[in-house]
Symmetry: C2
Subunit: 344 residues, 2 copies
Amino acid sequence: MKYEAVTIKDIAKALGLSTSTVSRALRDSYEISPATKKQVLEYAEQINYRPNPIALSLKEKRSRSIGVIVCEIANSFFSQAINGIESIAYDKGYNVIISQSHESYDREVIDLQYLASRSIDGLLISVSAETEDFSHLKNLHDRGFPIVFFDRVAESIDTHKVIVDNFKGAYDATKHLLDNGHQHIANLAGSPHLSITKERLGGYRKALEDHGLTYQESYTEFCLHGGMLYEEVEAALNRFTSLEQIPDAIVASADKLTTNCLRYFKSKGIKVPEEVALMGFSNLDLTDLLSPSLSVVKQPAFEMGQLATELLLQLIESKRPITEFEYKVLPLELMIRESSLKSK
Amino acid sequence: MKYEAVTIKDIAKALGLSTSTVSRALRDSYEISPATKKQVLEYAEQINYRPNPIALSLKEKRSRSIGVIVCEIANSFFSQAINGIESIAYDKGYNVIISQSHESYDREVIDLQYLASRSIDGLLISVSAETEDFSHLKNLHDRGFPIVFFDRVAESIDTHKVIVDNFKGAYDATKHLLDNGHQHIANLAGSPHLSITKERLGGYRKALEDHGLTYQESYTEFCLHGGMLYEEVEAALNRFTSLEQIPDAIVASADKLTTNCLRYFKSKGIKVPEEVALMGFSNLDLTDLLSPSLSVVKQPAFEMGQLATELLLQLIESKRPITEFEYKVLPLELMIRESSLKSK
DNA sequence: TTTATCTACGCAATCGTTCCCGGTATCGAT
DNA sequence: ATCGATACCGGGAACGATTGCGTAGATAAA
């Protein structure tokens, strides 16, 4: 079944005009008499004419759509960020095409290729947990394709970036646990390739050291899939709990790490925060309903999406090449609830 | 900054061939000599040629992209459904463009207009909570535009539909509460305009009647925004708790209704399930971590997305008009946990 | 040698829209 | 009556790719 739209030609034919005249009438050109304009506009309205965006894209060499690549839209942080992206894009008349990498490098490369070949005007990306090599992005970027990173960035690519103060977030979370009397704080970290993992690890470490404690490698476990697989979290926590000195608190560096951590303790019958305190990065909007309610470091996801989109559209719509790039660092919010309370 | 892609013309010029020859060589036409093919393919590879999809869309009158309109992607059910949609679309070489109505009718109309003008080949939609009038969809559908409904359908439009057995889901949930000894079961319902609300209400009512109880209107409260606003849930529950006979159990008919219900009880210090039992529709993947863990009716969201997409692509790719439409009803899953346990 | 056949390519139309470059008609001024 | 200006409109190329048709040249068949 074919759905046939009306074109400018149909109007021209029906009214005995040329397509040029119709086109100009529709765009309210001064070269067209008011009478003709009125006639064209009314007829166009009547048959519900809509300009064909594909034809316009071809002519203008722009599609007025931007691509977004994230790992999972089912992740609160990203769905909130996408809402921010959408809000700005919508206002400016841009379309948003979303792809998910599911934390897979291969998938990310395919997504990128697909999006680029679909004639998007620019890209917003938060790289996958597996991504170590950024050449797929670098190639495109070098050829002048507008890219803006948010959250998980590629340090080596010189373009706009929007992140949060991961260092401070992890620092403050760790400090909060220390201030609450916890002595043996472990760090459940995400993929070691990710910028955010390194930054958060740095904050965790600094907080320990500022408190006179020494950083111990055995107290940090990385999860290559960012906690997406329960098994990797389970394995990491099994190692923690088999240590000589079992941690009395955990800082979890990502959304899924935090919730899966809680799930692990629940299944093992380990009481939070009595036996082990927990504080994690999360943008869930129902951490208050969890058992125990979860103390979290929350990112301004919506604002990040908005900001990144503004920067991207700026890149896209700029006439001359931009060489000065923004590196926006947004503040995090600490929300203290039950899971991080003083133990014993 | 403009990003200029290489075209078939560039290849033709560089190789001293015509564009037709290059085009045919790339498509491996029998009319082109092996030598020329090799030359073209190698050069195309070298300069990283990618066909311009916009030009193809214009020529073929199809964009190979489908539109999706849902209320919120931050809702577990919909993000899971989108994953299903994406998985099929991706396989078939289709792009997915997602729009959110945020439960607003006006926004839905705008989204639709926007998507349609963006030359999508078809639409998957789950209508907003506010939508009573379906003429915006009907117009498009009548003009031969492929539309498939999922979850929240428009009864009056004759096309493929994919839903779950809402009646049975609500029936079983209610029956479960009855079997557990609850006598005064209230129904926290979504928007009265929605098909799913009516179906679920029907199941709830039937279960009561089959159990020898009479349906009471005061035991059903509708939330126009489907629970998206805490205030509407709060108002509804305030009315329930001010009844002469306070309900001892609640069936919540949507994701946000269920979680906001729990939030209400928590804030009021009302114990679940001791004082009031709760069972709701939800696709959250951490209902096991809530306090209390939540008994839910879970929809096969991913499968629904897949199925709806398959049906849509079938509509799009069919040569002749389709007049026989599928009405797929998928089974639901009851997951019994703490919140619905026997009271007292 | 002539004719038929086939190989391998180019020309040009097409999709819907814009826009440059013309062209004609009308009017006022000289 | 002639010229210039202005108002109004049409022709056609262009965007990138595909494709039906035409054809030059080579080869094979007669």
